[in-house]
């Protein structure tokens, strides 16, 4: 067994709002090793997105511990987390979430604005990332001038441009047709195999899950394996 890149112990997330009270995750003990491609499955409302958000430190757990890439996330403050996420985590959304007024290249360049790279280096890195996802000829297109599949590939280029070791994807093919979905999954597979990225992907689609090297199931906030 290689080193654990993500490690949770009794990870719990409860949402309490006025009267009602939802336990989205309950005592989740999970270990994901470096270089794995994990598919996170389970019915709607089972807590898949919640788990992914906690791994990316986009939200704080209400109980238990979580360590990602050697950091106990609890110990980092807001600023440190922002910096840590920029450097180590690439996040891919179901709705792509590109910035509409920025071109493909500018969208991909965005995370590099937080690094010390010079403008020419940023352009070079962003171009390389876009070529990797097969969009070398779409650099100056705006998101609305691209198809859904192309938009998602720009989003993937943006997620990998800082060369993070961890890639998190929340139903990345959920809004795509079969062909585009296949392209996206193929790229995720390559990132995992050729570039050694650890990938955690939430999906409903058993076909998509086949690209993964490992599967975890969530049911009502609990891990069932």
């Amino acid at each position: 067994m290689s080193e654990a890149i993500i490690q949770t112990t009794k990870l719990t997330k409860e949402f309490i709002r006025d009267e009602f009270h939802v336990v989205a995750l309950k005592d989740v003990n999970l270990e994901i090793a470096k270089g794995e491609f994990v598919a996170l499955m389970g019915p709607s409302g089972s807590g898949k997105s919640t788990l992914l958000h906690l791994i990316a430190a986009m939200d704080r757990p209400t109980g238990g511990e979580i360590r990602v890439l050697g950091h106990a996330l609890r110990e980092l403050n807001d600023r440190q987390i922002a910096h840590w996420r920029n450097e180590n985590v690439g996040f891919i959304f179901q709705q792509f979430n590109l910035i509409p007024v920025l071109s493909a290249l500018e969208n991909v360049e965005l995370p590099l604005k937080l690094t010390n790279l010079r403008k020419s280096e940023r352009i070079e890195h962003a171009t390389t990332a876009l070529k990797l996802v097969g969009l070398g000829d779409r650099l100056h297109h705006l998101p609305r001038q691209l198809s859904g599949g192309q938009e998602q590939r720009v989003a993937m280029a943006r997620a990998i441009v800082t060369d993070p070791s961890l890639i998190l994807a929340d139903e990345p093919t959920g809004n795509l047709d079969a062909t585009s979905a296949l392209e996206v999954l193929t790229i995720l597979g390559r990132l995992n195999k050729e570039f050694g990225k650890t990938v955690v992907m939430v999906t409903h689609d058993p076909h998509a899950a086949q690209f993964a090297t490992k599967m975890h199931h969530l049911e009502k906030g609990e891990l069932t394996n």
Binding site: H53, A56, M58, D59, D78, R79, A82, H83, R85, N86, E87, F91, F93, Q95, N97, I99, P100, V101, L102, E106, L110, P111, K113, L114, R158
Partner: protein
């Protein structure tokens, strides 16, 4: 390091109608402010070129203006030989006894008649005003019922033209020339021969004031001191420049009213900027969440939206300058302290425009602060879920 400026600029372009409307609102506010500042500036300039720092104006004790002052020929004889008064090429002291009165003439703005200052003075008095030159026609002649009118009088009063006659006192006076005072108040005056005017007004012995020239700045101070201390003379002496400065005092209410209007408008348009930016933050909630996921801090979100608001208001400020610029060619008139009409121009200078843009920037920062901090305070997940 920060979220690129292009992000803000392009968002302003994308919602161009809102941007233009908001900027126009700010622009109008800035234009109002500029109009007031340039009006006051124009008035100040007019008054400052009118006076000579070495000139000392002497009025009767207690008199605030030349119009209400009474000055006798005996006083003039005593005063002429005070120490510190410059001597002319003819060996005589540089001092001018003058009579000032008011006449009524129909002007462009006031067809029913507006007040004009009439000044009777001799050759010496004319020479002392080095800023005043004849631009058309000729000077009035001694012993003749002739007058010369200022440039603004000629342009604003249809009847004040060379060859025509105007009536004041007990006579009709022929206009023989137009004088240019280079922006000074004399552009708004009518000048005639001292003896003719004072005789016509029945004021041969008691004229209005006396203007003297000191040898230098130190002598001017001492002269004023000694004139004011002289109980027997009973006069009130002051630098000519200060006299015209005091006349600006009458512009203060105008300035304050204008500034109050500008401040009220500023509050209104900073609310407009705030409203626009709140809408922008709400519409771009998902982008804010995404930027945070990419690693941008709350601080850079705050800064970015603040910058956008300032860009918006700067655009407004520039529009305001554009709106105010044509004022430069406008000449207007107000009644000055002597109840006479005085013409002056708006002066929209680069400094004033800079002040206008700075005002817009402040307005945008204030208006943008709340929306920007609202954007920065959003939780990532809440922001991402909003549509």
């Amino acid at each position: 390091m920060a979220i690129p400026l292009a992000y803000n600029l392009r968002n302003l372009v994308v919602r161009k109608t809102t941007t233009i409307m908001t900027a126009l609102g700010i622009g109008l506010t800035v234009a109002v402010l500029l109009a007031i500042l340039s009006l006051v500036n124009g008035l100040r300039t007019t008054l400052s070129v009118s006076g000579d720092p070495l000139h000392v104006l002497v009025l009767r004790q207690g008199a605030e203006s030349e119009l209400v002052s009474l000055f006798t020929r005996e006083q003039f004889q005593d005063l002429k030989f005070k120490a510190g008064i410059a001597t002319g090429s003819d060996g005589q002291p540089v001092a001018s006894m003058e009579v000032v009165t008011v006449m009524i003439l129909a002007s462009v703005d006031n067809p029913d008649g507006a007040n004009l200052n009439v000044r009777g003075l001799d050759q010496r008095g004319v020479e002392m005003r080095s800023n005043v030159h004849i631009s058309r026609g000729r000077w009035f002649q001694q012993g003749q019922k002739e007058v010369v009118v200022g440039k603004s009088v000629a342009s604003r009063f249809p009847d004040a033209q060379i060859g025509r006659k105007v009536h004041f006192g007990r006579s009709d006076w022929e206009i023989v020339g137009v004088m240019d005072a280079g922006g000074g108040v004399q552009n708004s005056e009518v000048w005639g021969d001292l003896n003719q005017v004072s005789a016509d007004l029945n004021r041969v012995q008691t004229v209005s004031s006396c203007l003297v020239k000191a040898t230098d700045a130190v002598a001017a101070k001492a002269l004023i001191q000694s004139l004011n201390d002289d109980q027997r003379l009973a006069v009130h002496a002051m630098p000519e420049t200060e006299y015209y400065d005091q006349q600006t005092g009458n512009a203060k209410p105008l300035e304050y009213t204008g500034l109050i209007v500008a401040v009220i408008m500023a509050i209104g348009s900073s609310f407009a900027a705030m409203n626009t930016m709140y809408a922008a933050v709400a519409r771009r909630a998902r982008e804010i969440g995404t930027l945070r996921v990419l690693g941008f801090s709350r601080g850079s979100i705050l800064f970015s939206f603040l910058v956008e608001s300032v860009l918006l208001s700067t655009l407004g400020g520039l529009l305001g300058c554009l709106l105010a610029l044509p004022l430069n060619s406008v000449t207007t008139a107000i009644g000055n302290g002597n109840f006479a009409e005085m013409a002056f121009g708006f002066r929209v200078t680069p400094q004033i425009m800079l002040a206008g843009v700075a005002f817009a920037v402040i307005l945008g920062s204030v208006g943008g602060l709340f929306p920007a901090s609202n954007a920065a305070r959003k939780q990532i997940l809440t922001a991402l879920r909003e549509v």
